[in-house]
Every structure is written in structure tokens, then in C-alpha cells.
Point group: D2
């Protein structure tokens, strides 16, 4: 934060900060931008310490997210320090070290009362989408009491950047919705950051097998290191066939879709056992074929979910107690000065082998 | 049952009975057929008293059910009297009045132990499909201990014919899977016998609204009489629009699909509220479009299920205690002599206004 | 509300109202009391329209509730009109007709996020206990957004007084915790207002039998009228024996304790079937014997719960849709001038046959 | 098995075997005993390979188990080889290597259909109790299809002796009923074999903390080795106080009772947090005090359960996949010739440090 030097006559002094701003499809830049201000009693202003880039930011930059308009500061993840709080904020005060949730939740509307924070009538996924986000020196976080989390003492704060979005997303949409159980067989289709976070958090429930499916040999190798019992290279498109062989023709109890294209969803349909679950995490851009002519009698369930971050407190406890180490997904570090490089690296993951990149202020 | 008169030289005396036999697409006849015999210690032979015709029987007659081969006696519903039991049958004896479940379940395989009787490795829906069925004077019922139910004293037995298939199907696949709850809003797409049975059993959970959708004015009128709070005539294909108006743009907590064609499934996708359920009952012959480009973020679940009849004991208690009267779905009665007429009547429901037809032996 | 006439020199004008104030064990009076004021941005001030008396108020007056100190305005139930709101209240504005919940919930603490509003770290049951309550012309309601409910148009508002406490208490602690299911057998021990509210809301789930147990013939007669399938008079202390006879020695799937003394809890232990539930609603003043020497192997669950009012939105919908009529529990009406008579009537229920009494401002 | 040499005139040849027989309180001996025979079509005869001794066997020997009469062969655990099967046994044949479940379940009665195998109307815990058990060269196992489990290839069979009783008991009654969840805090009261099996299987769900409480320093040291995050020595009776300090006054989400005396159950009452679970595993010989005067408002649940062994297939998969190693509980080995020594060792566990002892035929 800094004050515009030498404001012209009649100009008010304006506090400025640096921010990564979306300027329409294909266009982004680091700009000087006005500082955010408290606009509701339940707001907080957080000084960002570390942030990251999400696959969704890339979607926005392609112009795929209609709700995000040019001029928007991107980013919905990160950790920081509370800079200022509104009069109704009870749980936080200036100086608190906090995790910023990607979901803003009022805690009181019909959906919030049901734990469906993602559909909060005055919140949901708005950060870096409908309001300015976290890829900036400061961010305004609405509904601060239900949308920030104190960083526990003694924990490696950088790891918690993974708890803004990717870990709750993979855990809630994939693992919880997929009802992963001890002794069960799980397939995760897609071994990118989201699939790998599902792999890590699925292990909370001790399934007998976790079979990772992808076409990128490097990512499958990472998956093996992070706990996959089996990997299937789908370069030849024969993953379903291979998986059925691996499972003696039985299929899987839980198929987690972590890509977001029709072919990977249909693959889940092909490998789910009777009585099983298909848990979709992927952000889909088009409809998919649902083969009800076969599945109507298979006693399966298919779930979709925008992350609610309702599980964030639970995830925090698993990190603090060492049950999982989210830092395993972090491959690159940049300072904010080099955020354009960070985008370049993250956006070319096949080549750079990037999973999650950290951007430090 | 009767014995073939004057068997030729060298012929054994053969006990015969009358049965409705499938002879390939479009062909059926009432034939003289050999009596069934106990072939496993857990079998029972049941003398049928009343049976009925299911929409699935019509599917078989169209040639749509590959597992059902010509020569098969049709039917998987009905009540009867135990005629003979195998040496391992513990719960039933000759003379017991019983309900025949459409699902045969061993009770011991992996699927049965999980309550997924429909996928019993030596059972499931086999009656009138892979083995001879109930549209005959006698039927062999495998796994009798887990597949027959004693008819309680004092209950109108005819009503229980509805508990062989249609009531557990609508209740398990529609109401239970759809998680109908007190105060919730439910839509049932399809007001045929299956949809109406869902309407009746959904009321066990006191939803605030049950909105029936169909294009047949008579069936909607029946629905209104049986407890629908609202009906929507979809003749103009604008059911989704009308429903959203009825619910102030909110949609429904539970959408039950009770038809089995792509358009009605997509209608369910169009009307389900965030956090809601789509419970499929319909038997589908082709794939459907799943609009994940919109639904991926809607926190919904879609379920499919072949009826398990796991809820049959619960349903029996609701009938005995007068919580529901399944006879409301019975519109016509025939003697077995006129079973071809029964098929004619049931197969032309739009004209005859038939819901379920009873065939008495 | 009115202003103190002729304040002495140097006195500020003080706004006063009438209120029922607790003055220590056995003592209460209608006093002039200072008007409540907004003290936190999330507070509202509600002008009361109707309130009622709870059994817990009688407990306080006996000196049994240590948290309630002399000088406290009693009452935690009622309907009113929003008079003023704090700056952070988003869901309500002056003039809104509202239901006041007996539980104040911040919506954001660990317990509130889990739906355990009763243990809200800055709320819970505080109204008419740790802070002034609703038996007054005005009341301050903390955490207004999560603790008030708009009164829907077209509904009889008086009925909703039952939704402040007694209905959610009986439904959540008794019916939901007791897992009442279609076709099941339920016993409710205690046919006072709480037991009767459990009887009414248990019917949302269509149990086959609801057996009410009490020693008051009048209350059992009311129970019969409100839907009990069986009643047992326990004047002779032989209720367990009678119930086992009624259920052919099987016992009940759900036993709801709605009295709060050792004998009635042990009765629940005596009648619960293997696999069954004991759901405690009663406020207990002493320990009870838990017969684990018999129950350890019976696969039962025992639940306790201070009402969370998490189910209040659901209950509102059941009332609006006519699934239940809470007014059936209202036996007497008083104006606030006669609140001492109201206490007299409610406190002598065996003689007056009072269930719930309404007090109107 | 062997034939009685030189039967006297008129005597039939009798096949005999060795067995550990209960002869009334305090009395047991290794006797020659007639071989078991198939008595129902669903029976199997299993030649035992390894068995073990359960705390319940010691209870029987004290005369505490009324259903077990003098003359009974003890034992309800072990692995063996199928020797003979009844005509209705479908899943097993002579020569199959099997695990014998402590619970016999018909799979078809009301309780079995609900997964409550422990209350099977013709089974339950009958082995070594109401019928002869597994501490013999041969045992008859009723309802073989639902009560035996094939030993998977490649698994160390001895480990599976722990899956007859102690693992499903601790897992079902303690871990599943206790709803152990990722990130939660669990206390296990009692660090004997049952408590330690609960400790091992609780880790399937990745709780943040598992606090073991006992008065035996050796057993606490074992607990630490097997995964306890904290141990509390309760020799001074101050475990509750210590635990509350360890948890910053919060208490535990799940308290598992694995002893079976009043003091340890009350300890669970003292340490459970609001919203928490008390899961009883202990076999209790007397009633306990339930402090409802405090707990009525704490939103807790208390569960009891006789093991159903419904989770045995799941547990088998966790062992096969290496998620848990049950052999960690085996401390001693004996041949059947020395079974009296095995009892001596197991019965003096404080001195011998015995957990589970294996007896080999």
C-alpha cells in the first residue's frame, strides 16, 4: 500500500496497491489499483502474505466465466494478516494471521444453515470473480467471521494456502461426496493438482486401493509417490478396460472425476461398480452423455458440488496433527513481482511440471 | 395343476399347469406348461392366487429385455400359498400365505449383505426374466427365506400385490433415494402407476408440496385425488417454466423421474434446486444429456436403482397400520382365463385408464 | 413503552416497559423495567405480540437454574414485530413480523457451523436465562439474523408461538434423534405439552404405532385425539409390562423420554427393542440408572440434546403447508395484565388441564 | 479326529476329538468329545487350525454367563479348513480355508436384514456359549454361508484370528458407533486387547488425536507404539482432569469405553464434549450412573452393541491391503496340548503382559 505521490490540485490522496487485474479474454496485467475499503460491518481487509493461482483463474482468462468482468482483481486463495475489521466482525482483529477461504458465507441464509456455503445468497464463490480477489496486496473479505480461519500456532502457514480451495474442493466434492471408506476401491480420473489433492485426502479413510488415471507420465509418477496403489496411463484411451482387469471385472466403489471433460466423466460411468459413487469435481464446459440405458439399474449415485469449505476446520486439524502435508503439491515459488511468470509456469504445466505455485508478497 | 391324460407309451406322467408364456417379440400365449419343481434346498413352490402385469412385461414383449428368452413364463409379482419348500427353507411351510417379491435374494453374498438385493450374485430380478415367473398357476421362488413375505392376518391380501414390485420400486428408488423430508418440495415426473406409487409413499415423510407432472389429464386428476398438492400438464412442453413459477424460481428439493425417456430426465435437471436430489426410477432405453456445464456447481445428487425390496418389511407395516392404501392403484380385475384381455387393457392405458390390473387364479 | 413521567432534576428521561421479572426462588412480579437497547451490531429489538410460559420458567422459579439470576426478565418464546435492528442485521428490518427462537446462534462459531446452535459460544439458551427474555413488551435478541424467523404471509401467527421452543425441542430431541421411521413403533413417555408435541411431529414420518404413556387420564385422552394409536396409563407403574404385551414382547424402535425423572428414563430402557433408540427430551435434575448389565449387548443408542432450533425452517414449512397444527396444544389465553394468572394456570396443569397458555400484549 | 479303539460289544464306533470343555464355575478340562455332525442343511463342520481365548471365555469360567451350561466346548474365534458342508451351503466346499466369525447369522431374519446379526433370531453369539465352540479339533458352524469367510490368498492367516471377534468388536462397537472422523479427538478408556484393537482401527479414519487411558504402564507403552498420540495413566483416578487439560477444557469428540465397569463408563461421561459420542464396547456386569442432570443438554449420544461382524468383509480388505496389521496384538503361541497354560497366561495378563494368545492345532 502506498499513497499516490503529488496528487493534482483538487485530487484527494488515494491509497494504491499492486494487483493482478483481468482485462478481458486473454488479457491481464499487474496494475496500480485503489485499496479495498470496508463496505459492510461484517467485512475484513486482509493484507496478503501468500497467494496462488487456480485452474479457474485460467478459465476466467479464456473468457469462460461470464460472472467475472474486465477490471476484476483475480485470485481466491491465500494467507494473510488482518488489516482492518468491520464493526460486526467478532472472531478476528487486526494482526490476526488468517487463511482466506475461496467461499464467502454469511452463515445465516437458508443455504448456509444447511452447510451449502457455496450457494450463500450473499456470498459463495465471489472472490476474484464477482468482487476483487486475493492476487493483490490487500483484499476485502465479506462475511469475515465465517470466511476466514485463524492460522494455528506452530503450523507451516504456506501449506495452508492449499486449504483456501484445492484441498476442501477435492475433499468435499471428491472424497466426502464419494463416500470413500476403509477397504474400498477408489479411482481418481485426473492426476493434476485437484486429483492429487483428492488422492491425499482420500487416504484419511484408508481405502484398500486408489487407482490414479491420467495420460501424463510425470503426474502418474507423482501420484505413485503420494500414495496411489495403482496408476493407469490412459494415453491409449483404454483406461476402462485396464481398470476392469485390475479389479477382476468388479469396478470401483468410488470414481472421482477430476478433469471436467465429457470423456473422463464417461470413463467414470464405465468403471463404477453396482452400488458405487461417481463424485464429480471437474468444472465442465459442456454437457456429457449419461448412459442411463445401462446405469438405470446399477444403484449408483452421481454427485456434483461447488466447494462449500464446510470441511475447512476439519482439514486444518488434519494438517496441524500431521495427517497430511499439503506442501507436497507446491512445486514453484515466485514473488508477486513475477506473478506473470507464475501464470506462465502454471499455465504450461505439462512442460513445467507445475502443480501449485506460491506467490509471495 | 393337473396330470396329462393318457400319456403315450414310454411317457412319464407329467404334471401340467397353465401359464402366460413369452414366445419372442410381440408373441405371447397361455400355454400348458410343466409344473415347476424344487431345484435347490432354498427354493419354494408357490401356488399363485393373484398376480398383475408390470410395464416391464410390456418391455419384454417388445423384445427390449435381452435376458428374457422365448419360452419364458412372464410375471414377477403376486400373492400365493406355499405349495412345497426345499429342505433349507426355514421361515415358510406349506400352506403359508405369502407375498412374492420381484427380487430374489440369497441374503449372504456381498451385495445382499449391503442390502443391494437387486444385485444378488445368484438372484436379483430373475423371476419372469431369467427363470419362469408368476403369471402361472405355480411358480418356483429361489432363496425363499429372503424372497417371500408372510401375509399378516387381517390385511386385505389383494393390496399386497402392489408390494411385490411397484411400491418398493417407487419408494426405494424414488422416495428413499430422493431423501424426501418433512416440509420439502417434491416433483414427480410421470403420473403413471410408478409415479403414483411414489406420490403415495412420498407422503410418509410429509413434504410440504408434491407437484405431479404429466401430459395425461386423467392421470393428473388421479394424482390430485391421491395427494398431489399441485399438478402440471406438460402437453405444451413447458413444465419446467411452470414449475419454476410455482416455486418462486427456487426449484424442487427432490425430482423423481418416473417415465424413463431423455426428455423427462432433462426436465428433472431443469427443476432441481441447488442441494437437491434427482432420483431416477424410470427404465431407460437410451442415454440422456447430463448438463454438467450447469449442474457441476449445483451440489446435486443423481441416483439410479433397481429395486432391492429391502424396504418391503417396512412397507408391509405401513399397509397393515393403514398409513397407505395400495389398492387405490388397482383399476381392473380379470380372471387368469382372461389374462390376454388384461394385457390388452394394461397395454392401452391412455384409453382404458388402467393403472394396475389384478389377475386372479 | 413509555417515558418515566417527571424525571427528577438531573435525571435523564428513561424509557420504561412492563416485564415479568424473576426475583429469586419463589418470587416473581410484573415490574416497570428499562427498555432494552441495541448493544451489538447483530442485535434486534423486538416488540412482543404474544408469548407463552415454558416448564423451564417454572424450574427457574423453583431456583433450579443456577445461570438465571434474580432481576432477570423471564421468557424465551413468542412472536413480535421488529422495532429496531443493529447495523449488521441483514435479514430483518423494522416492522417485520417475526418468530423469536429460544436459541440465539451466531452462525459462525465451531458449534454453529456444525448445527449445534444450542452450544453457540456466544449464544445458546440465553434468553430469559442469562439475558432478559420475552415476557416483556420489548426484548433484545442477539444474533438476530440467525435467531429470528420471518412469519410467512397467510399463516396463523399464534400457532408459531409453539415454534419458539416446544415444537423444535420435541421434534429435534425426540423425533429426529429418535430416528422415527415409516412403519416403526414409537413410545412417548410423558403426555404433557412436550410429549404431545413429539406425538404431533412424530407423525411426519408415518410410524405404524405411537404409544403414549402417562398417569394423567386427561392427557392420555388428548393424546388419543392428537394421533396416538395406543395409550398406557402408568398409574400402577406397570407400563413396561403392558407395553411389552402390546408389542408381542418385542418392544419399541424408538422410546422418547418427555418427563425428566429417573423412573421414566428407566422405563425407556425397559421397553426399547434391540437396535432401538432412546431419545431423551426431559430436563433431568438428578442422575439415572443405566442398566448396562443388560443393555450393553442390545445395540441401542441413547441421545440427549438441548434444542438447536436448526429444524425451525423445516417446521415453519410444515405449518404453512398444513401438515401439522400447533394450535392444538394451546388451551388458555391471557392478556399480559393477567400473566400472574397465566402462571397460576400453567403451574397447576393437572387441575386446570392447561397445555400451553398464550399471553398477549 | 479319531475313532474310539475297541468299542465294546453292541457299541457303535464313535468318532472322538479333543476339546476344551467348561464344567461349571472355575472348572474346565481338555476332554475327549464326540465329533460334531451336520444337523441343518446350512451347517458346516470346520477343522480348526488356530484359535484363541477371549475375555468372555474368562467370564464364562467365572460363572457370569448364564446361557453357557456345563459340558459346553468353549471358544468362538479362529481359522480352519472346511471339513464338510450341509446341502444348502452354497459359498463353501470341503477344503476351503476359512475364518470363523464369532457371530452366526441366518442372513434372512428381521435383524439380519437390518445388519444386526448379533440379534439373529436363530444365531447371534451362540458359538462356545449356547452351542459347542472352536477350542476343539472340529466345530459345527451354523448358517455357514453368512458366518464363515474365505481366507484370501497371500494373507498371513494367523492375523485373521483377530478378525473372528476382537477386531470387528472394537471397530463396530467402538470406532463405527463412535463416528471417528478425520481431525477429531478420540479417547479410548482401557488399553487391553479390545482397547488396542479400537486404537488400531480408529486410525482408519485419521483422527488428529487418540488418547489412551489405562492404569497399566506396560499397556500404555504398547498403545504408544501402536499409534496413540497421548496416553494417560489413571492410577491416581485423575484421568478426566488430565484429559481436560490436554484438550484445553474441550473434551473429546468420541469416548470409547473398553473396560466394562462403572468407573470407566462414568469417566467417558466426564470427558465427552458437547455433540460427542460415547461408544460402549465393555461387557458390563452391573448398572452405571448416567449423569443426565448434566448430560441432558450436552447433545451427546451413547451407543451399545454386541458385535455384528457386519464389517468383517471390510476388515478383511484392510488387512489384505496392509492398512492394519492385527498380528501386533498377538503376544503368545501355544499348541492345543498346552491350552491350559494358554488360559493361565491369558488370565494373568498384568503379569504375563499377554494381549492375545494363539492356540495351534
Amino acid at each position: 500500500m502506498y499513497t499516490l505521490a503529488n496528487p493534482g490540485a483538487g485530487q484527494k490522496s488515494v491509497e494504491l496497491m499492486r494487483a493482478l487485474v483481468y482485462h478481458g479474454p486473454g488479457k491481464k496485467s499487474v496494475d496500480e489499483h485503489a485499496m479495498p475499503k470496508i463496505s459492510s460491518p461484517s467485512d475484513a481487509i486482509v493484507k496478503m502474505v501468500k497467494t496462488t493461482i487456480c485452474g479457474t483463474d485460467l478459465h476466467i482468462l479464456k473468457g469462460d466465466v461470464a460472472t467475472c468482468e474486465p477490471g476484476r482483481i483475480l485470485g481466491h486463495e491465500g494467507i494473510g494478516i488482518v488489516h482492518e475489521v468491520g464493526s460486526a466482525v467478532a472472531a478476528f482483529k487486526t494482526g490476526d494471521r488468517v487463511l482466506v477461504s475461496c467461499i464467502s458465507a454469511c452463515g445465516t441464509c437458508e443455504y448456509c444453515r444447511r452447510g451449502i456455503y457455496s450457494h450463500c445468497t450473499t456470498g459463495g464463490w465471489i472472490l476474484g470473480n464477482e468482487i476483487d480477489g486475493t492476487q493483490a496486496e490487500y483484499v476485502r473479505t465479506p462475511h469475515a467471521d465465517t470466511s476466514l480461519y485463524k492460522i494455528p500456532a506452530g503450523v507451516d502457514a504456506e501449506a495452508l494456502v492449499m486449504l483456501s480451495d484445492i484441498f476442501p474442493t477435492s475433499f468435499e466434492c471428491g472424497v466426502l461426496n464419494g463416500k470413500v471408506q476403509p477397504g474400498n476401491t477408489v479411482a481418481i480420473v485426473g492426476s493434476g493438482p485437484i486429483g492429487l489433492a483428492a488422492l491425499l485426502t482420500a487416504q484419511f479413510y484408508s481405502p484398500a486401493r486408489i487407482i490414479m488415471i491420467d495420460s501424463d507420465a510425470n503426474r502418474l509418477a507423482v501420484a505413485k509417490k503420494l500414495g496411489a496403489t495403482d496408476t493407469i496411463d490412459n494415453t491409449d484411451g483404454k483406461a476402462a478396460e485396464k481398470l476392469m482387469k485390475l479389479t477382476d471385472g468388479r469396478g470401483v466403489d468410488t470414481a472421482i472425476e477430476a478433469v471436467g471433460v465429457p470423456a473422463t466423466f464417461v470413463l467414470c460411468e464405465d468403471i463404477v461398480a453396482p452400488g458405487g459413487m461417481i463424485a464429480n469435481i471437474g468444472v465442465h464446459g459442456e454437457k456429457v452423455d449419461l448412459h442411463l440405458e445401462r446405469l438405470w439399474s446399477q444403484n449408483i449415485a452421481i454427485t456434483t458440488r461447488l466447494v462449500d469449505t464446510a470441511a475447512t476446520p476439519m482439514l486444518l486439524r488434519t494438517v496441524v496433527s500431521g495427517k497430511v502435508d499439503p506442501k507436497q503439491l507446491i512445486t514453484h515459488h515466485f514473488t508477486f513481482e513475477h506473478i506473470m511468470d507464475a501464470y506462465e509456469t502454471f499455465g504450461n504445466a505439462a512442460r513445467t511440471k507445475a502443480l501449485k505455485v506460491i506467490i509471495e508478497f
